[in-house]
Symmetry: D2
Subunit: 125 residues, 4 copies
């Protein structure tokens, strides 16, 4: 057999990336400090800075942040955000919803597009 | 006193609108049919058609829909969406989060903007 | 056919009750005042008094209250609880999850029992 | 001062345990397989077996399971439960709410008791 390429294994990083794609899921999370006033914008800004710097694909909305990734990287991000607020707050309420669907990559973009395609119209985002 | 305008009451509709503004809140909701396959896009499209036609301000994201309004109009919208799916499905799971903050109108737009202003940068939406 | 009884319609109230049973669902809800201190026990007590006096079957747990009933009676209960807190608080966060499954009455008791039966052991409640 | 005991440091394991107590929080979680029928009792039984065998203090209710512990032990439990279902299901929806309050141990029991004390009556559990 001449085709040496096929027999050569994929470089580690590529294999890892491929595997990651298969295991990626969506989460939406929100973190609310309780007991330090009704204006929590400064604290949310701190949390969103951490999300933005994580490098994971995300989208924020008025009620939470949706992030795409593997379980471990997603939950270490949420833990980091949660602990940042817990240091300064008496009480913190964190809510996480995981939507884990096999074999569906890039759902951060595709989920909404797929609904728009069915409806034949653009929705407000 | 010459200023007759001040003593004249506001027209009914304006008073109503002003009052509504004070009582408006944000909800995020999601509706998931359980037990009829993992591809639920057609059913979500039906739900989002109802939301889009309701006339209420909304934004969809990959994990749910955020709508702004008064309690009664928001919950009759969610009820209508829920019942549309219940008619055809064995089991439906609906989740609603209400964020009700006094004296803060137009939070559908302002909540995210306020965080971006604090961070001094645009976030992904 | 002699059996006049069968042809006679059910009295209105009985028909209504039968129909209600079919339409009953479970909700879990929690209401959190934000911005008035981390100790919210007094406010939760007020909310749970309303639930207890509603007459609807319920069970409280450390994270929320599960109630069984029809959509309208459940959501007017949640609205009453929410509005009681909104009167005194700057900001209130209310979360509701609806589990609506056809033809399954008395799920407040039966859901946990059914899992215990499958496991063949009692779980902690 | 004669009391040498007081000056002697605590053994490592006891210090660790004490510290853990301070860092304990409550979570409620629920895991729903989507797309494999409306009767999901067998799958829930599998998940609750894992919770029961984890050794962590927990309480189940008709809508979820409340567990008390530290972040890492709680989230490795939830991950284990989630992955058990993901292996066999096309799509899994997992919801987690974290209530993290400083310096309040044994909240699995105390949260409900504290509300009952304020109300001066027992509530349904």
């Amino acid at each position: 057999m001449k085709d040496g390429l096929r027999r050569r294994p994929l470089p580690c990083t590529m294999e890892k990336r491929f595997q990651q794609k298969e295991e990626r899921m969506l989460i939406e999370f929100s973190i609310v400090p309780i007991g330090s006033g009704s204006s929590i914008g400064d604290k949310l800004a701190e949390v969103l800075k951490i999300v933005d710097e994580s490098g994971l694909p995300y989208k924020i909305n008025p009620m939470g942040t949706v992030v795409e990734g593997e379980w471990d990287e997603l939950f270490s991000l949420v833990k980091k955000c949660h602990e940042t607020l817990v240091k300064k707050e008496e009480r913190v309420l964190t809510t996480i919803t995981v939507d884990d669907r096999k074999g569906k990559p890039n759902r951060l973009e595709e989920k909404v597009k797929s609904v728009e395609k069915r409806l034949g119209k653009q929705l407000k985002k």
